[in-house]
């Protein structure tokens, strides 16, 4: 499982941690039953605060993607919605590209609508 964070990004670090796990699930690099690395390990490896990683893991728990138990490793649940995760990962990628290109929210959404119309026409 690959977890990346960029402190210079406007996206909060906890969201970036959660996004990495979602992307791993959507891309098939992680499967239900897999254990996430401990929050302490991730914090030490990425040089970020332990509570930041825990916030990211709690986001995933609230979404039903992982099961968190005190004193035990976070485990990816069998009920993780693969379709929604794939959609979310694709949206993340698009949002990053749009942000990089300097598009406004309206312009980005209009581009998505147009692309969908073109595909479904």
């Amino acid at each position: 499982m690959l977890i990346t964070v960029d402190p210079s990004s406007a996206q909060p670090l906890a969201d970036q941690v959660a996004g990495s796990v979602r992307a791993a699930l959507a891309g098939g690099m992680a499967r239900p039953g897999d254990r996430l690395p401990s929050a302490r390990t991730v914090a030490a490896a990425l040089g970020i605060n332990l509570h930041t990683v825990l916030r990211g893991y709690q986001q995933l728990r609230d979404e039903g993607v992982v099961e968190l138990r005190r004193g035990r490793a976070a485990v990816i649940t069998g009920t993780a919605d693969q379709f929604r995760l794939q959609l979310s990962a694709a949206a993340d990628e698009f949002a990053k590209a749009a942000d990089h290109a300097g598009a406004s929210e309206e312009e980005a959404l209009a581009a998505v609508r147009e692309a969908l119309r073109a595909i479904r026409a």
Binding site: T4, D6, A45, L46
Partner: protein, 331 residues
């Protein structure tokens, strides 16, 4: 895209040369004690000694005249020769691996300690005291520490400075971006080996074997095999680390300066890749399937079986590219 298996093309650098002869002499010294000490004892205290004395668990007759023919007929002569071969031959086959040579020095000292203790005890007291075995155990532990020190500081391995070649997968890491990759693997073969070894250890202990070193060695070997049955690979800013999930204190890291580049191969390259560094390198190979292969600066390889070899290789090359092309690698 997996890169087909190809031989490592880097020349094998002989960085083990400094201090190698010293390590060889220290390794070869211990078995000689088995020949020298009984002879010295017989020469010094021949009349006071009983007809049979014990070194470690080896009985030696003292009634022989001090002649060469008399001594080579003693069992310790053959044992010393075998021990010498068991220590020196692995040393010669690991001529370019100072880490292995240090282990052999430690093994040699550990082997020599009980002989030395027995010799000293026979000199002081012809009848063995009841505390001779605890004394042997303590001295063996101390001897291992002394052996580690005596082997000296190991020469530094060579370092790579060139960026990875363009044909290997490389992840684009922005300046300041931090990344970590974690995966784990099981080895059914290691589990099976551990079960067999555990059986041997229990059987050896239950029959009341008087050679405690054998039981301790079997137990240690079992623990190492169990530890290797489930491992975790972690790639982050400090390098590539292999950890044993059931013995987390045991880990081994390949720092980035030791890595030339990383590849993802459809299967592990031919050779024996184990926890200890061998002629081809080291690593954890669990059956067939994709493997992350690091080309190391000393011409060897690190191999780790994982289905996510492509991602792992791309991340390693991403780190290397950023560090070696003037980027601001951190974390």
């Amino acid at each position: 895209m997996f890169i087909p298996v190809s031989p490592v093309s880097a020349p094998c650098v002989d960085y083990a040369a400094p201090g190698r002869l010293r390590r060889l002499a220290l390794t070869a010294a211990s078995p000689l004690l088995l020949l020298i000490l009984p002879m010295a004892l017989a020469a010094l205290h021949g009349e006071r000694l009983p007809g049979r004395i014990y070194f470690g668990h080896l009985a030696i007759g003292t009634e022989h005249a001090l002649t060469w023919r008399g001594w080579i007929s003693q069992p310790q002569f053959g044992v010393a020769l075998w021990s010498e071969a068991l220590l020196v031959l692995p040393f010669l086959s690991h001529w370019r691996l100072p880490q292995v040579q240090r282990v052999l020095v430690i093994v040699g000292f550990t082997f020599g300690a009980p002989i030395l203790v027995s010799g000293v005890l026979w000199t002081l007291k012809p009848v063995q005291p009841p505390w001779s075995t605890p004394a042997e155990i303590i001295c063996t532990v101390v001897a291992a520490a002394v052996g580690y020190r005596a082997a000296g500081t190991l020469p530094r391995p060579p370092e790579a400075t060139a960026a990875p070649p363009p044909y290997v997968p490389t992840m684009a890491l922005r300046s300041g971006q931090r990344a970590m990759f974690v995966t784990s693997t099981w080895s059914a073969r290691r589990l099976l080996t551990s079960a067999v070894l555990a059986g041997f250890t229990v059987w050896n202990a239950s029959r009341g074997a008087d050679v405690w070193q054998l039981t301790a060695l079997l137990a240690l070997w079992t623990a190492l095999e169990v530890a290797q049955a489930r491992t975790r690979l972690q790639i982050d800013g400090s390098g590539v680390t292999v950890r044993f999930l059931w013995l987390p204190a045991l880990r081994r890291t390949v720092p980035y300066p030791s890595v030339r580049f990383a590849e993802a191969m459809s299967e592990a390259p031919p050779g024996r890749y184990k926890l200890s560094t061998g002629v081809e390198g080291w690593g954890i190979v669990s059956g067939k399937g994709p493997a992350l292969v690091l080309a190391l600066a000393d011409g060897r390889r690190f191999v780790y079986s994982t289905s996510e070899a492509e991602t792992a290789a791309a991340l390693v090359n991403g780190w290397l590219s950023r560090e070696r092309q003037g980027g601001t690698a951190s974390c």
